[in-house]
Subunit: 284 residues, 2 copies
Protein backbone atom coordinates (compact mmCIF):
# COMPACT_ATOMS: atom_id res chain seq x y z
CA UNK A 1 0.00 0.00 0.00
CA UNK A 2 1.25 3.51 -0.80
CA UNK A 3 0.85 5.98 2.06
CA UNK A 4 1.05 9.72 1.45
CA UNK A 5 1.91 11.91 4.41
CA UNK A 6 1.25 15.64 4.18
CA UNK A 7 3.45 17.27 6.81
CA UNK A 8 6.47 15.26 7.99
CA UNK A 9 6.59 16.70 11.50
CA UNK A 10 6.31 15.02 14.88
CA UNK A 11 3.07 13.17 14.09
CA UNK A 12 3.38 12.62 10.34
CA UNK A 13 7.06 11.70 10.53
CA UNK A 14 6.58 9.28 13.41
CA UNK A 15 3.75 7.59 11.49
CA UNK A 16 6.00 7.28 8.45
CA UNK A 17 8.65 5.48 10.46
CA UNK A 18 6.37 2.89 12.07
CA UNK A 19 3.99 2.27 9.13
CA UNK A 20 6.96 1.47 6.93
CA UNK A 21 9.01 -0.68 9.27
CA UNK A 22 5.94 -2.58 10.48
CA UNK A 23 5.02 -3.44 6.90
CA UNK A 24 1.75 -1.53 6.61
CA UNK A 25 3.19 0.80 3.96
CA UNK A 26 5.15 -0.47 0.98
CA UNK A 27 6.04 3.09 0.06
CA UNK A 28 5.73 6.39 1.88
CA UNK A 29 5.33 9.58 -0.15
CA UNK A 30 5.94 12.78 1.80
CA UNK A 31 4.92 16.41 1.32
CA UNK A 32 6.90 18.95 3.30
CA UNK A 33 6.96 22.62 2.29
CA UNK A 34 9.89 23.48 4.54
CA UNK A 35 12.96 22.69 2.38
CA UNK A 36 15.35 21.92 5.22
CA UNK A 37 12.67 19.84 6.89
CA UNK A 38 12.04 17.91 3.66
CA UNK A 39 15.73 17.10 3.23
CA UNK A 40 16.00 16.06 6.88
CA UNK A 41 12.88 13.87 6.58
CA UNK A 42 14.36 12.02 3.61
CA UNK A 43 17.69 11.46 5.33
CA UNK A 44 15.96 10.31 8.53
CA UNK A 45 13.84 7.84 6.57
CA UNK A 46 10.48 9.40 7.47
CA UNK A 47 9.43 9.05 3.83
CA UNK A 48 10.83 7.41 0.71
CA UNK A 49 10.23 10.38 -1.55
CA UNK A 50 9.26 14.06 -1.33
CA UNK A 51 6.69 15.26 -3.80
CA UNK A 52 3.95 17.85 -4.37
CA UNK A 53 0.58 17.80 -2.63
CA UNK A 54 -1.25 16.96 -5.85
CA UNK A 55 1.12 14.20 -6.93
CA UNK A 56 1.10 12.70 -3.45
CA UNK A 57 -2.70 12.64 -3.25
CA UNK A 58 -2.99 11.09 -6.74
CA UNK A 59 -0.55 8.27 -6.08
CA UNK A 60 -1.50 7.31 -2.53
CA UNK A 61 -3.98 4.70 -1.31
CA UNK A 62 -4.19 6.49 2.04
CA UNK A 63 -3.39 10.18 2.51
CA UNK A 64 -2.52 11.28 6.05
CA UNK A 65 -3.00 15.02 6.56
CA UNK A 66 -0.73 15.80 9.52
CA UNK A 67 -0.52 19.58 9.43
CA UNK A 68 -1.80 22.30 11.79
CA UNK A 69 -5.58 22.35 11.86
CA UNK A 70 -5.89 25.72 10.10
CA UNK A 71 -4.21 24.23 7.02
CA UNK A 72 -5.93 20.85 7.33
CA UNK A 73 -9.39 22.35 6.83
CA UNK A 74 -8.22 23.62 3.44
CA UNK A 75 -6.43 20.45 2.34
CA UNK A 76 -9.09 17.87 3.20
CA UNK A 77 -11.67 19.00 0.59
CA UNK A 78 -8.85 19.42 -1.95
CA UNK A 79 -7.75 15.83 -1.38
CA UNK A 80 -11.31 14.52 -1.78
CA UNK A 81 -11.65 16.56 -4.99
CA UNK A 82 -8.53 14.92 -6.41
CA UNK A 83 -9.88 11.47 -5.41
CA UNK A 84 -12.79 12.04 -7.85
CA UNK A 85 -10.35 11.66 -10.76
CA UNK A 86 -9.77 7.97 -9.92
CA UNK A 87 -12.98 6.67 -8.36
CA UNK A 88 -11.97 3.02 -8.90
CA UNK A 89 -8.96 3.49 -6.62
CA UNK A 90 -11.13 3.90 -3.50
CA UNK A 91 -8.63 6.25 -1.88
CA UNK A 92 -8.93 7.32 1.75
CA UNK A 93 -7.84 10.52 3.50
CA UNK A 94 -7.44 10.95 7.26
CA UNK A 95 -6.43 13.87 9.43
CA UNK A 96 -4.63 13.80 12.79
CA UNK A 97 -5.79 17.14 14.17
CA UNK A 98 -6.37 18.04 17.82
CA UNK A 99 -9.77 19.62 17.13
CA UNK A 100 -12.49 17.84 15.24
CA UNK A 101 -15.64 19.99 14.79
CA UNK A 102 -14.19 22.33 12.17
CA UNK A 103 -12.38 19.50 10.43
CA UNK A 104 -15.51 17.42 9.98
CA UNK A 105 -17.55 20.49 9.00
CA UNK A 106 -15.22 21.33 6.11
CA UNK A 107 -16.11 18.12 4.24
CA UNK A 108 -19.59 17.44 5.64
CA UNK A 109 -21.36 17.83 2.28
CA UNK A 110 -18.56 16.58 0.05
CA UNK A 111 -19.76 13.79 -2.30
CA UNK A 112 -16.78 11.67 -1.17
CA UNK A 113 -17.25 12.37 2.58
CA UNK A 114 -17.24 8.61 3.19
CA UNK A 115 -13.61 8.39 2.12
CA UNK A 116 -12.56 10.68 4.94
CA UNK A 117 -11.87 9.27 8.43
CA UNK A 118 -11.42 11.87 11.18
CA UNK A 119 -8.85 10.68 13.72
CA UNK A 120 -6.84 12.11 16.57
CA UNK A 121 -3.92 9.99 17.70
CA UNK A 122 -3.40 11.19 21.29
CA UNK A 123 0.37 11.10 21.41
CA UNK A 124 3.11 13.62 21.09
CA UNK A 125 5.81 15.59 22.81
CA UNK A 126 6.43 19.31 23.20
CA UNK A 127 8.78 19.22 20.20
CA UNK A 128 7.92 19.69 16.55
CA UNK A 129 9.40 19.22 13.09
CA UNK A 130 10.90 16.14 11.39
CA UNK A 131 13.68 16.01 14.02
CA UNK A 132 10.99 15.43 16.66
CA UNK A 133 9.71 12.28 14.91
CA UNK A 134 10.45 9.06 16.74
CA UNK A 135 9.66 5.35 16.49
CA UNK A 136 7.04 3.84 18.83
CA UNK A 137 5.54 7.25 19.59
CA UNK A 138 1.97 5.92 19.45
CA UNK A 139 2.38 2.56 21.19
CA UNK A 140 -0.26 1.99 23.85
CA UNK A 141 -1.88 5.43 23.48
CA UNK A 142 -5.50 6.23 22.59
CA UNK A 143 -6.65 7.19 19.10
CA UNK A 144 -10.00 8.94 18.78
CA UNK A 145 -12.21 8.23 15.76
CA UNK A 146 -14.66 11.12 15.43
CA UNK A 147 -18.04 10.73 13.67
CA UNK A 148 -16.97 7.29 12.46
CA UNK A 149 -20.51 6.60 11.19
CA UNK A 150 -19.95 9.24 8.47
CA UNK A 151 -17.10 7.22 6.94
CA UNK A 152 -17.58 4.28 4.56
CA UNK A 153 -17.31 1.03 6.56
CA UNK A 154 -14.50 -0.26 4.33
CA UNK A 155 -12.53 2.98 4.68
CA UNK A 156 -13.05 2.93 8.45
CA UNK A 157 -11.89 -0.69 8.69
CA UNK A 158 -8.70 0.11 6.76
CA UNK A 159 -7.87 3.04 9.04
CA UNK A 160 -8.62 0.91 12.11
CA UNK A 161 -5.96 -1.50 10.81
CA UNK A 162 -3.57 1.41 10.29
CA UNK A 163 -3.89 2.52 13.92
CA UNK A 164 -3.77 -1.08 15.10
CA UNK A 165 -0.38 -1.27 13.38
CA UNK A 166 0.64 1.75 15.46
CA UNK A 167 -0.54 -0.15 18.58
CA UNK A 168 -3.16 2.44 19.44
CA UNK A 169 -6.41 1.84 21.36
CA UNK A 170 -9.41 3.10 19.35
CA UNK A 171 -12.02 5.29 21.08
CA UNK A 172 -15.16 6.40 19.26
CA UNK A 173 -17.09 9.62 19.85
CA UNK A 174 -18.64 12.45 17.92
CA UNK A 175 -16.60 15.52 17.05
CA UNK A 176 -18.30 17.79 19.55
CA UNK A 177 -17.61 15.38 22.42
CA UNK A 178 -14.03 15.11 21.21
CA UNK A 179 -13.53 18.86 21.38
CA UNK A 180 -14.94 19.08 24.92
CA UNK A 181 -12.75 16.22 26.16
CA UNK A 182 -9.54 17.50 24.62
CA UNK A 183 -10.17 20.97 26.00
CA UNK A 184 -10.01 19.34 29.46
CA UNK A 185 -7.21 16.83 29.08
CA UNK A 186 -4.94 18.62 26.64
CA UNK A 187 -5.74 22.19 25.59
CA UNK A 188 -6.01 23.64 29.12
CA UNK A 189 -2.67 22.06 30.12
CA UNK A 190 -0.99 23.94 27.32
CA UNK A 191 -2.55 27.27 28.26
CA UNK A 192 -1.59 26.87 31.93
CA UNK A 193 1.97 25.96 30.94
CA UNK A 194 2.29 28.95 28.64
CA UNK A 195 1.00 31.24 31.40
CA UNK A 196 3.38 29.74 33.95
CA UNK A 197 6.33 30.25 31.62
CA UNK A 198 5.31 33.87 31.04
CA UNK A 199 5.01 34.45 34.80
CA UNK A 200 8.48 33.17 35.58
CA UNK A 201 10.11 34.71 32.50
CA UNK A 202 8.80 38.10 33.57
CA UNK A 203 10.45 37.69 36.97
CA UNK A 204 13.65 36.55 35.31
CA UNK A 205 14.13 40.03 33.89
CA UNK A 206 15.01 41.13 37.45
CA UNK A 207 16.36 37.90 38.85
CA UNK A 208 18.86 36.46 36.40
CA UNK A 209 19.55 33.34 38.44
CA UNK A 210 16.02 32.26 39.15
CA UNK A 211 16.31 29.24 36.86
CA UNK A 212 19.31 27.87 38.74
CA UNK A 213 16.71 26.77 41.22
CA UNK A 214 14.17 25.28 38.85
CA UNK A 215 13.42 21.83 40.19
CA UNK A 216 12.06 18.79 38.39
CA UNK A 217 8.54 19.74 39.41
CA UNK A 218 8.79 23.12 37.74
CA UNK A 219 10.26 21.64 34.58
CA UNK A 220 7.49 19.11 34.22
CA UNK A 221 4.77 21.69 34.81
CA UNK A 222 6.22 24.12 32.28
CA UNK A 223 7.38 21.57 29.70
CA UNK A 224 4.41 22.13 27.37
CA UNK A 225 5.28 25.83 27.12
CA UNK A 226 7.87 24.79 24.53
CA UNK A 227 5.01 23.84 22.17
CA UNK A 228 4.77 25.63 18.85
CA UNK A 229 2.48 28.53 18.02
CA UNK A 230 1.94 27.08 14.52
CA UNK A 231 0.18 24.15 16.05
CA UNK A 232 -1.52 25.74 19.05
CA UNK A 233 -2.93 29.03 17.75
CA UNK A 234 -5.40 27.31 15.39
CA UNK A 235 -6.32 24.72 18.04
CA UNK A 236 -7.14 27.36 20.66
CA UNK A 237 -8.94 29.44 18.08
CA UNK A 238 -10.99 26.59 16.57
CA UNK A 239 -11.89 25.14 19.95
CA UNK A 240 -12.53 28.59 21.42
CA UNK A 241 -15.82 27.97 23.22
CA UNK A 242 -14.77 24.76 24.97
CA UNK A 243 -11.37 26.16 25.86
CA UNK A 244 -12.91 29.32 27.33
CA UNK A 245 -15.32 27.24 29.41
CA UNK A 246 -12.47 25.18 30.85
CA UNK A 247 -10.29 28.27 31.44
CA UNK A 248 -13.14 29.84 33.41
CA UNK A 249 -13.58 26.76 35.59
CA UNK A 250 -9.82 26.69 36.09
CA UNK A 251 -9.65 30.38 37.00
CA UNK A 252 -12.35 29.85 39.63
CA UNK A 253 -10.31 26.99 41.16
CA UNK A 254 -7.19 29.18 41.19
CA UNK A 255 -9.23 31.90 42.87
CA UNK A 256 -10.42 29.47 45.57
CA UNK A 257 -6.79 28.61 46.30
CA UNK A 258 -5.82 32.28 46.28
CA UNK A 259 -8.57 33.19 48.73
CA UNK A 260 -7.75 30.31 51.09
CA UNK A 261 -4.05 31.26 51.12
CA UNK A 262 -4.85 34.97 51.56
CA UNK A 263 -7.10 34.13 54.54
CA UNK A 264 -4.53 31.75 56.12
CA UNK A 265 -7.41 29.26 55.92
CA UNK A 266 -5.39 26.07 56.36
CA UNK A 267 -8.49 23.90 56.67
CA UNK A 268 -9.67 25.05 53.26
CA UNK A 269 -6.23 24.64 51.63
CA UNK A 270 -6.08 21.12 53.09
CA UNK A 271 -9.52 20.33 51.71
CA UNK A 272 -8.58 21.60 48.24
CA UNK A 273 -5.35 19.60 48.18
CA UNK A 274 -7.04 16.41 49.39
CA UNK A 275 -9.63 16.82 46.66
CA UNK A 276 -6.91 17.42 44.04
CA UNK A 277 -5.03 14.34 45.30
CA UNK A 278 -7.88 12.19 43.90
CA UNK A 279 -6.03 12.54 40.59
CA UNK A 280 -3.71 9.80 41.97
CA UNK A 281 -6.39 7.18 41.46
CA UNK A 282 -6.66 8.09 37.82
CA UNK A 283 -3.11 8.74 36.64
CA UNK A 284 -0.42 6.15 36.84
Amino acid sequence: MTIGIIGLGLIGGSMGIDLKRRGFADKVLGVETDKVGAEAALRMGLSDEITSFEDCVKRSDIVIVAVPVGTAVKMLPQALDIFREQPEKKQIVIDTCSTKSKVTQCVRYHPLRGRFVATHPMAGTEYSGPWAAEPNLFDGRACIFADAEDSDPAALATIERLYDTLNMRPIYMNSDQHDVHTAYVSHISHVTSFALALTVLEKEKDEKHIFDLASGGFSSTVRLAKSSADMWVPILSQNRDNVLHVIDTYLSKMQEFRDAIADYDEAKITELIHEANRIKKILR
Copy 2:
Protein backbone atom coordinates in the same frame (compact mmCIF):
# COMPACT_ATOMS: atom_id res chain seq x y z
CA MET B 1 30.03 10.58 62.37
CA THR B 2 26.55 9.91 63.76
CA ILE B 3 23.73 11.50 61.77
CA GLY B 4 20.28 11.91 63.27
CA ILE B 5 17.37 12.26 60.86
CA ILE B 6 14.07 13.58 62.16
CA GLY B 7 11.44 12.47 59.65
CA LEU B 8 12.33 9.51 57.43
CA GLY B 9 10.23 10.57 54.45
CA LEU B 10 11.20 11.32 50.88
CA ILE B 11 13.93 13.83 51.79
CA GLY B 12 15.15 12.48 55.14
CA GLY B 13 15.05 8.88 54.02
CA SER B 14 16.86 9.56 50.75
CA MET B 15 19.57 11.43 52.68
CA GLY B 16 19.92 8.46 55.05
CA ILE B 17 20.54 6.09 52.17
CA ASP B 18 23.24 8.14 50.43
CA LEU B 19 25.02 9.55 53.51
CA LYS B 20 25.49 6.03 54.82
CA ARG B 21 26.53 4.23 51.64
CA ARG B 22 28.85 7.06 50.61
CA GLY B 23 30.62 6.86 53.96
CA PHE B 24 29.72 10.29 55.36
CA ALA B 25 27.66 8.72 58.16
CA ASP B 26 28.98 5.85 60.31
CA LYS B 27 25.58 5.52 61.91
CA VAL B 28 22.15 6.92 61.08
CA LEU B 29 19.63 7.43 63.92
CA GLY B 30 16.08 7.97 62.77
CA VAL B 31 13.00 9.54 64.33
CA GLU B 32 9.68 8.67 62.73
CA THR B 33 6.39 9.09 64.60
CA ASP B 34 4.40 7.05 62.12
CA LYS B 35 4.79 3.44 63.35
CA VAL B 36 4.34 1.73 60.01
CA GLY B 37 6.66 4.28 58.41
CA ALA B 38 9.30 3.68 61.11
CA GLU B 39 9.22 -0.09 60.60
CA ALA B 40 9.40 0.36 56.82
CA ALA B 41 12.31 2.80 57.14
CA LEU B 42 14.30 0.28 59.20
CA ARG B 43 13.65 -2.55 56.78
CA MET B 44 14.52 -0.35 53.81
CA GLY B 45 17.79 0.69 55.44
CA LEU B 46 16.98 4.40 55.63
CA SER B 47 18.31 4.43 59.20
CA ASP B 48 20.14 1.99 61.47
CA GLU B 49 17.94 2.59 64.48
CA ILE B 50 14.66 4.28 65.38
CA THR B 51 14.68 6.35 68.55
CA SER B 52 13.05 9.33 70.28
CA PHE B 53 13.59 12.96 69.28
CA GLU B 54 15.50 13.72 72.48
CA ASP B 55 17.73 10.65 72.34
CA CYS B 56 18.43 11.24 68.65
CA VAL B 57 19.43 14.88 69.19
CA LYS B 58 21.68 13.98 72.16
CA ARG B 59 23.60 11.25 70.35
CA SER B 60 24.02 12.84 66.90
CA ASP B 61 26.86 14.97 65.56
CA ILE B 62 24.54 16.37 62.90
CA VAL B 63 20.75 16.47 63.25
CA ILE B 64 18.76 16.75 60.01
CA VAL B 65 15.24 18.08 60.58
CA ALA B 66 13.33 16.82 57.53
CA VAL B 67 9.71 17.36 58.55
CA PRO B 68 6.99 19.70 57.24
CA VAL B 69 7.89 23.31 57.93
CA GLY B 70 5.12 23.83 60.52
CA THR B 71 6.74 21.17 62.74
CA ALA B 72 10.29 22.20 61.92
CA VAL B 73 9.88 25.66 63.44
CA LYS B 74 9.06 23.97 66.76
CA MET B 75 11.83 21.35 66.63
CA LEU B 76 14.77 23.57 65.67
CA PRO B 77 14.88 25.60 68.93
CA GLN B 78 14.30 22.37 70.89
CA ALA B 79 17.31 20.75 69.22
CA LEU B 80 19.53 23.77 69.97
CA ASP B 81 18.34 23.70 73.61
CA ILE B 82 19.39 20.05 73.91
CA PHE B 83 22.80 20.89 72.35
CA ARG B 84 23.49 23.16 75.36
CA GLU B 85 23.83 20.06 77.55
CA GLN B 86 27.00 18.97 75.69
CA PRO B 87 28.72 22.14 74.50
CA GLU B 88 32.03 20.33 73.90
CA LYS B 89 30.36 18.13 71.27
CA LYS B 90 29.88 21.07 68.83
CA GLN B 91 26.70 19.56 67.41
CA ILE B 92 25.00 20.96 64.33
CA VAL B 93 21.36 21.00 63.27
CA ILE B 94 20.06 21.66 59.76
CA ASP B 95 16.61 21.82 58.23
CA THR B 96 15.55 20.92 54.69
CA CYS B 97 12.40 23.05 54.47
CA SER B 98 10.94 24.68 51.36
CA THR B 99 10.45 28.04 53.08
CA LYS B 100 13.21 29.81 54.93
CA SER B 101 12.07 33.09 56.53
CA LYS B 102 10.01 31.54 59.32
CA VAL B 103 12.58 28.83 59.89
CA THR B 104 15.44 31.25 60.39
CA GLN B 105 13.26 33.56 62.51
CA CYS B 106 12.45 30.81 64.99
CA VAL B 107 16.09 30.55 66.13
CA ARG B 108 17.34 34.06 65.31
CA TYR B 109 18.13 34.96 68.93
CA HIS B 110 19.05 31.52 70.20
CA PRO B 111 22.47 31.52 71.93
CA LEU B 112 23.49 28.56 69.74
CA ARG B 113 22.18 30.06 66.46
CA GLY B 114 25.61 29.46 64.91
CA ARG B 115 25.12 25.71 65.17
CA PHE B 116 22.10 25.87 62.85
CA VAL B 117 22.55 25.80 59.08
CA ALA B 118 19.42 26.59 57.06
CA THR B 119 19.36 24.54 53.85
CA HIS B 120 16.94 23.64 51.11
CA PRO B 121 17.97 20.73 48.92
CA MET B 122 15.97 21.37 45.72
CA ALA B 123 15.08 17.80 44.87
CA GLY B 124 12.07 15.61 45.28
CA THR B 125 9.19 13.90 43.61
CA GLU B 126 5.44 14.15 44.06
CA TYR B 127 5.53 11.15 46.41
CA SER B 128 6.04 11.16 50.17
CA GLY B 129 6.79 8.80 53.04
CA PRO B 130 9.68 6.33 53.58
CA TRP B 131 8.57 4.33 50.51
CA ALA B 132 9.27 7.41 48.38
CA ALA B 133 12.93 7.56 49.50
CA GLU B 134 15.44 6.67 46.80
CA PRO B 135 19.19 6.63 46.23
CA ASN B 136 20.81 9.39 44.14
CA LEU B 137 17.80 11.69 44.58
CA PHE B 138 19.98 14.76 45.07
CA ASP B 139 22.71 14.14 42.48
CA GLY B 140 23.36 17.21 40.35
CA ARG B 141 20.60 19.32 41.88
CA ALA B 142 20.92 22.69 43.65
CA CYS B 143 21.03 23.11 47.43
CA ILE B 144 20.28 26.55 48.83
CA PHE B 145 22.13 27.75 51.94
CA ALA B 146 20.07 30.56 53.47
CA ASP B 147 21.65 33.24 55.69
CA ALA B 148 24.88 31.24 55.74
CA GLU B 149 26.69 34.14 57.46
CA ASP B 150 24.62 33.47 60.61
CA SER B 151 26.12 29.98 60.97
CA ASP B 152 29.52 29.25 62.58
CA PRO B 153 32.11 28.84 59.80
CA ALA B 154 33.07 25.38 61.05
CA ALA B 155 29.44 24.23 61.15
CA LEU B 156 28.84 25.66 57.68
CA ALA B 157 31.93 23.89 56.29
CA THR B 158 30.76 20.55 57.70
CA ILE B 159 27.31 20.92 56.12
CA GLU B 160 28.87 21.97 52.81
CA ARG B 161 30.76 18.65 52.92
CA LEU B 162 27.51 16.83 53.69
CA TYR B 163 25.81 18.27 50.59
CA ASP B 164 28.93 17.74 48.53
CA THR B 165 28.61 14.05 49.44
CA LEU B 166 25.07 14.20 48.05
CA ASN B 167 26.53 15.72 44.84
CA MET B 168 24.57 18.94 45.19
CA ARG B 169 25.56 22.39 43.87
CA PRO B 170 25.55 24.97 46.68
CA ILE B 171 23.78 28.30 46.10
CA TYR B 172 23.89 31.05 48.73
CA MET B 173 21.20 33.66 49.37
CA ASN B 174 19.31 35.22 52.23
CA SER B 175 16.09 33.67 53.44
CA ASP B 176 13.84 36.38 51.99
CA GLN B 177 15.37 35.96 48.53
CA HIS B 178 14.96 32.21 48.90
CA ASP B 179 11.25 32.53 49.60
CA VAL B 180 10.69 34.81 46.61
CA HIS B 181 12.60 32.49 44.28
CA THR B 182 10.90 29.30 45.40
CA ALA B 183 7.47 30.93 45.11
CA TYR B 184 8.29 31.33 41.40
CA VAL B 185 10.03 28.09 40.55
CA SER B 186 8.26 25.66 42.84
CA HIS B 187 5.29 26.85 44.92
CA ILE B 188 3.28 28.29 42.01
CA SER B 189 3.74 25.06 40.00
CA HIS B 190 2.09 23.13 42.79
CA VAL B 191 -0.85 25.52 43.06
CA THR B 192 -1.44 25.45 39.28
CA SER B 193 -1.28 21.64 39.28
CA PHE B 194 -3.73 21.36 42.16
CA ALA B 195 -6.13 23.74 40.37
CA LEU B 196 -5.80 21.82 37.10
CA ALA B 197 -6.58 18.55 38.85
CA LEU B 198 -9.64 20.11 40.51
CA THR B 199 -10.84 21.45 37.16
CA VAL B 200 -10.64 18.09 35.43
CA LEU B 201 -11.97 16.12 38.40
CA GLU B 202 -15.03 18.35 38.48
CA LYS B 203 -15.69 17.55 34.83
CA GLU B 204 -15.10 13.85 35.45
CA LYS B 205 -18.21 13.67 37.61
CA ASP B 206 -20.12 13.94 34.33
CA GLU B 207 -17.71 12.33 31.94
CA LYS B 208 -16.36 9.04 33.26
CA HIS B 209 -14.20 8.43 30.24
CA ILE B 210 -12.30 11.67 30.15
CA PHE B 211 -9.23 10.03 31.62
CA ASP B 212 -9.03 7.45 28.88
CA LEU B 213 -7.80 10.35 26.84
CA ALA B 214 -5.33 11.90 29.21
CA SER B 215 -2.13 12.32 27.22
CA GLY B 216 1.45 12.53 28.40
CA GLY B 217 1.27 16.32 28.39
CA PHE B 218 -1.65 16.33 30.78
CA SER B 219 0.02 13.83 33.11
CA SER B 220 3.18 15.85 33.38
CA THR B 221 1.32 19.10 33.99
CA VAL B 222 -0.85 17.60 36.70
CA ARG B 223 1.76 15.33 38.29
CA LEU B 224 2.44 17.66 41.21
CA ALA B 225 -1.24 17.51 42.21
CA LYS B 226 -0.39 14.21 43.88
CA SER B 227 1.70 16.12 46.44
CA SER B 228 0.73 15.87 50.09
CA ALA B 229 -1.26 18.41 52.07
CA ASP B 230 0.94 17.77 55.14
CA MET B 231 3.88 19.24 53.28
CA TRP B 232 2.16 21.91 51.18
CA VAL B 233 -0.32 23.57 53.52
CA PRO B 234 2.40 24.98 55.82
CA ILE B 235 4.55 26.02 52.82
CA LEU B 236 1.74 27.97 51.18
CA SER B 237 0.74 29.44 54.51
CA GLN B 238 4.25 30.45 55.62
CA ASN B 239 5.17 31.86 52.24
CA ARG B 240 1.78 33.51 51.84
CA ASP B 241 2.81 36.96 50.64
CA ASN B 242 5.24 35.77 47.97
CA VAL B 243 2.89 33.05 46.79
CA LEU B 244 -0.01 35.50 46.51
CA HIS B 245 2.14 37.90 44.50
CA VAL B 246 3.09 35.15 42.04
CA ILE B 247 -0.49 33.84 41.82
CA ASP B 248 -1.66 37.35 40.92
CA THR B 249 0.93 37.71 38.17
CA TYR B 250 -0.03 34.26 36.93
CA LEU B 251 -3.75 35.05 36.94
CA SER B 252 -3.11 38.17 34.87
CA LYS B 253 -1.20 36.07 32.29
CA MET B 254 -4.06 33.55 32.19
CA GLN B 255 -6.48 36.43 31.70
CA GLU B 256 -4.39 37.75 28.76
CA PHE B 257 -4.65 34.33 27.14
CA ARG B 258 -8.36 34.13 27.88
CA ASP B 259 -9.03 37.54 26.34
CA ALA B 260 -6.98 36.79 23.22
CA ILE B 261 -8.80 33.48 22.70
CA ALA B 262 -12.20 35.08 23.36
CA ASP B 263 -11.43 37.80 20.79
CA TYR B 264 -10.12 35.29 18.19
CA ASP B 265 -7.00 37.48 18.32
CA GLU B 266 -4.60 35.04 16.70
CA ALA B 267 -1.81 37.62 16.47
CA LYS B 268 -1.92 38.11 20.23
CA ILE B 269 -2.08 34.36 20.98
CA THR B 270 0.93 33.89 18.69
CA GLU B 271 2.82 36.65 20.48
CA LEU B 272 2.08 35.13 23.91
CA ILE B 273 3.16 31.65 22.81
CA HIS B 274 6.36 32.93 21.19
CA GLU B 275 7.20 34.77 24.40
CA ALA B 276 6.45 31.64 26.49
CA ASN B 277 8.64 29.58 24.12
CA ARG B 278 11.68 31.47 25.46
CA ILE B 279 11.54 28.93 28.29
CA LYS B 280 13.26 26.54 25.81
CA LYS B 281 16.50 28.43 26.10
CA ILE B 282 16.45 28.01 29.83
CA LEU B 283 15.19 24.51 30.51
CA ARG B 284 16.88 21.48 29.12
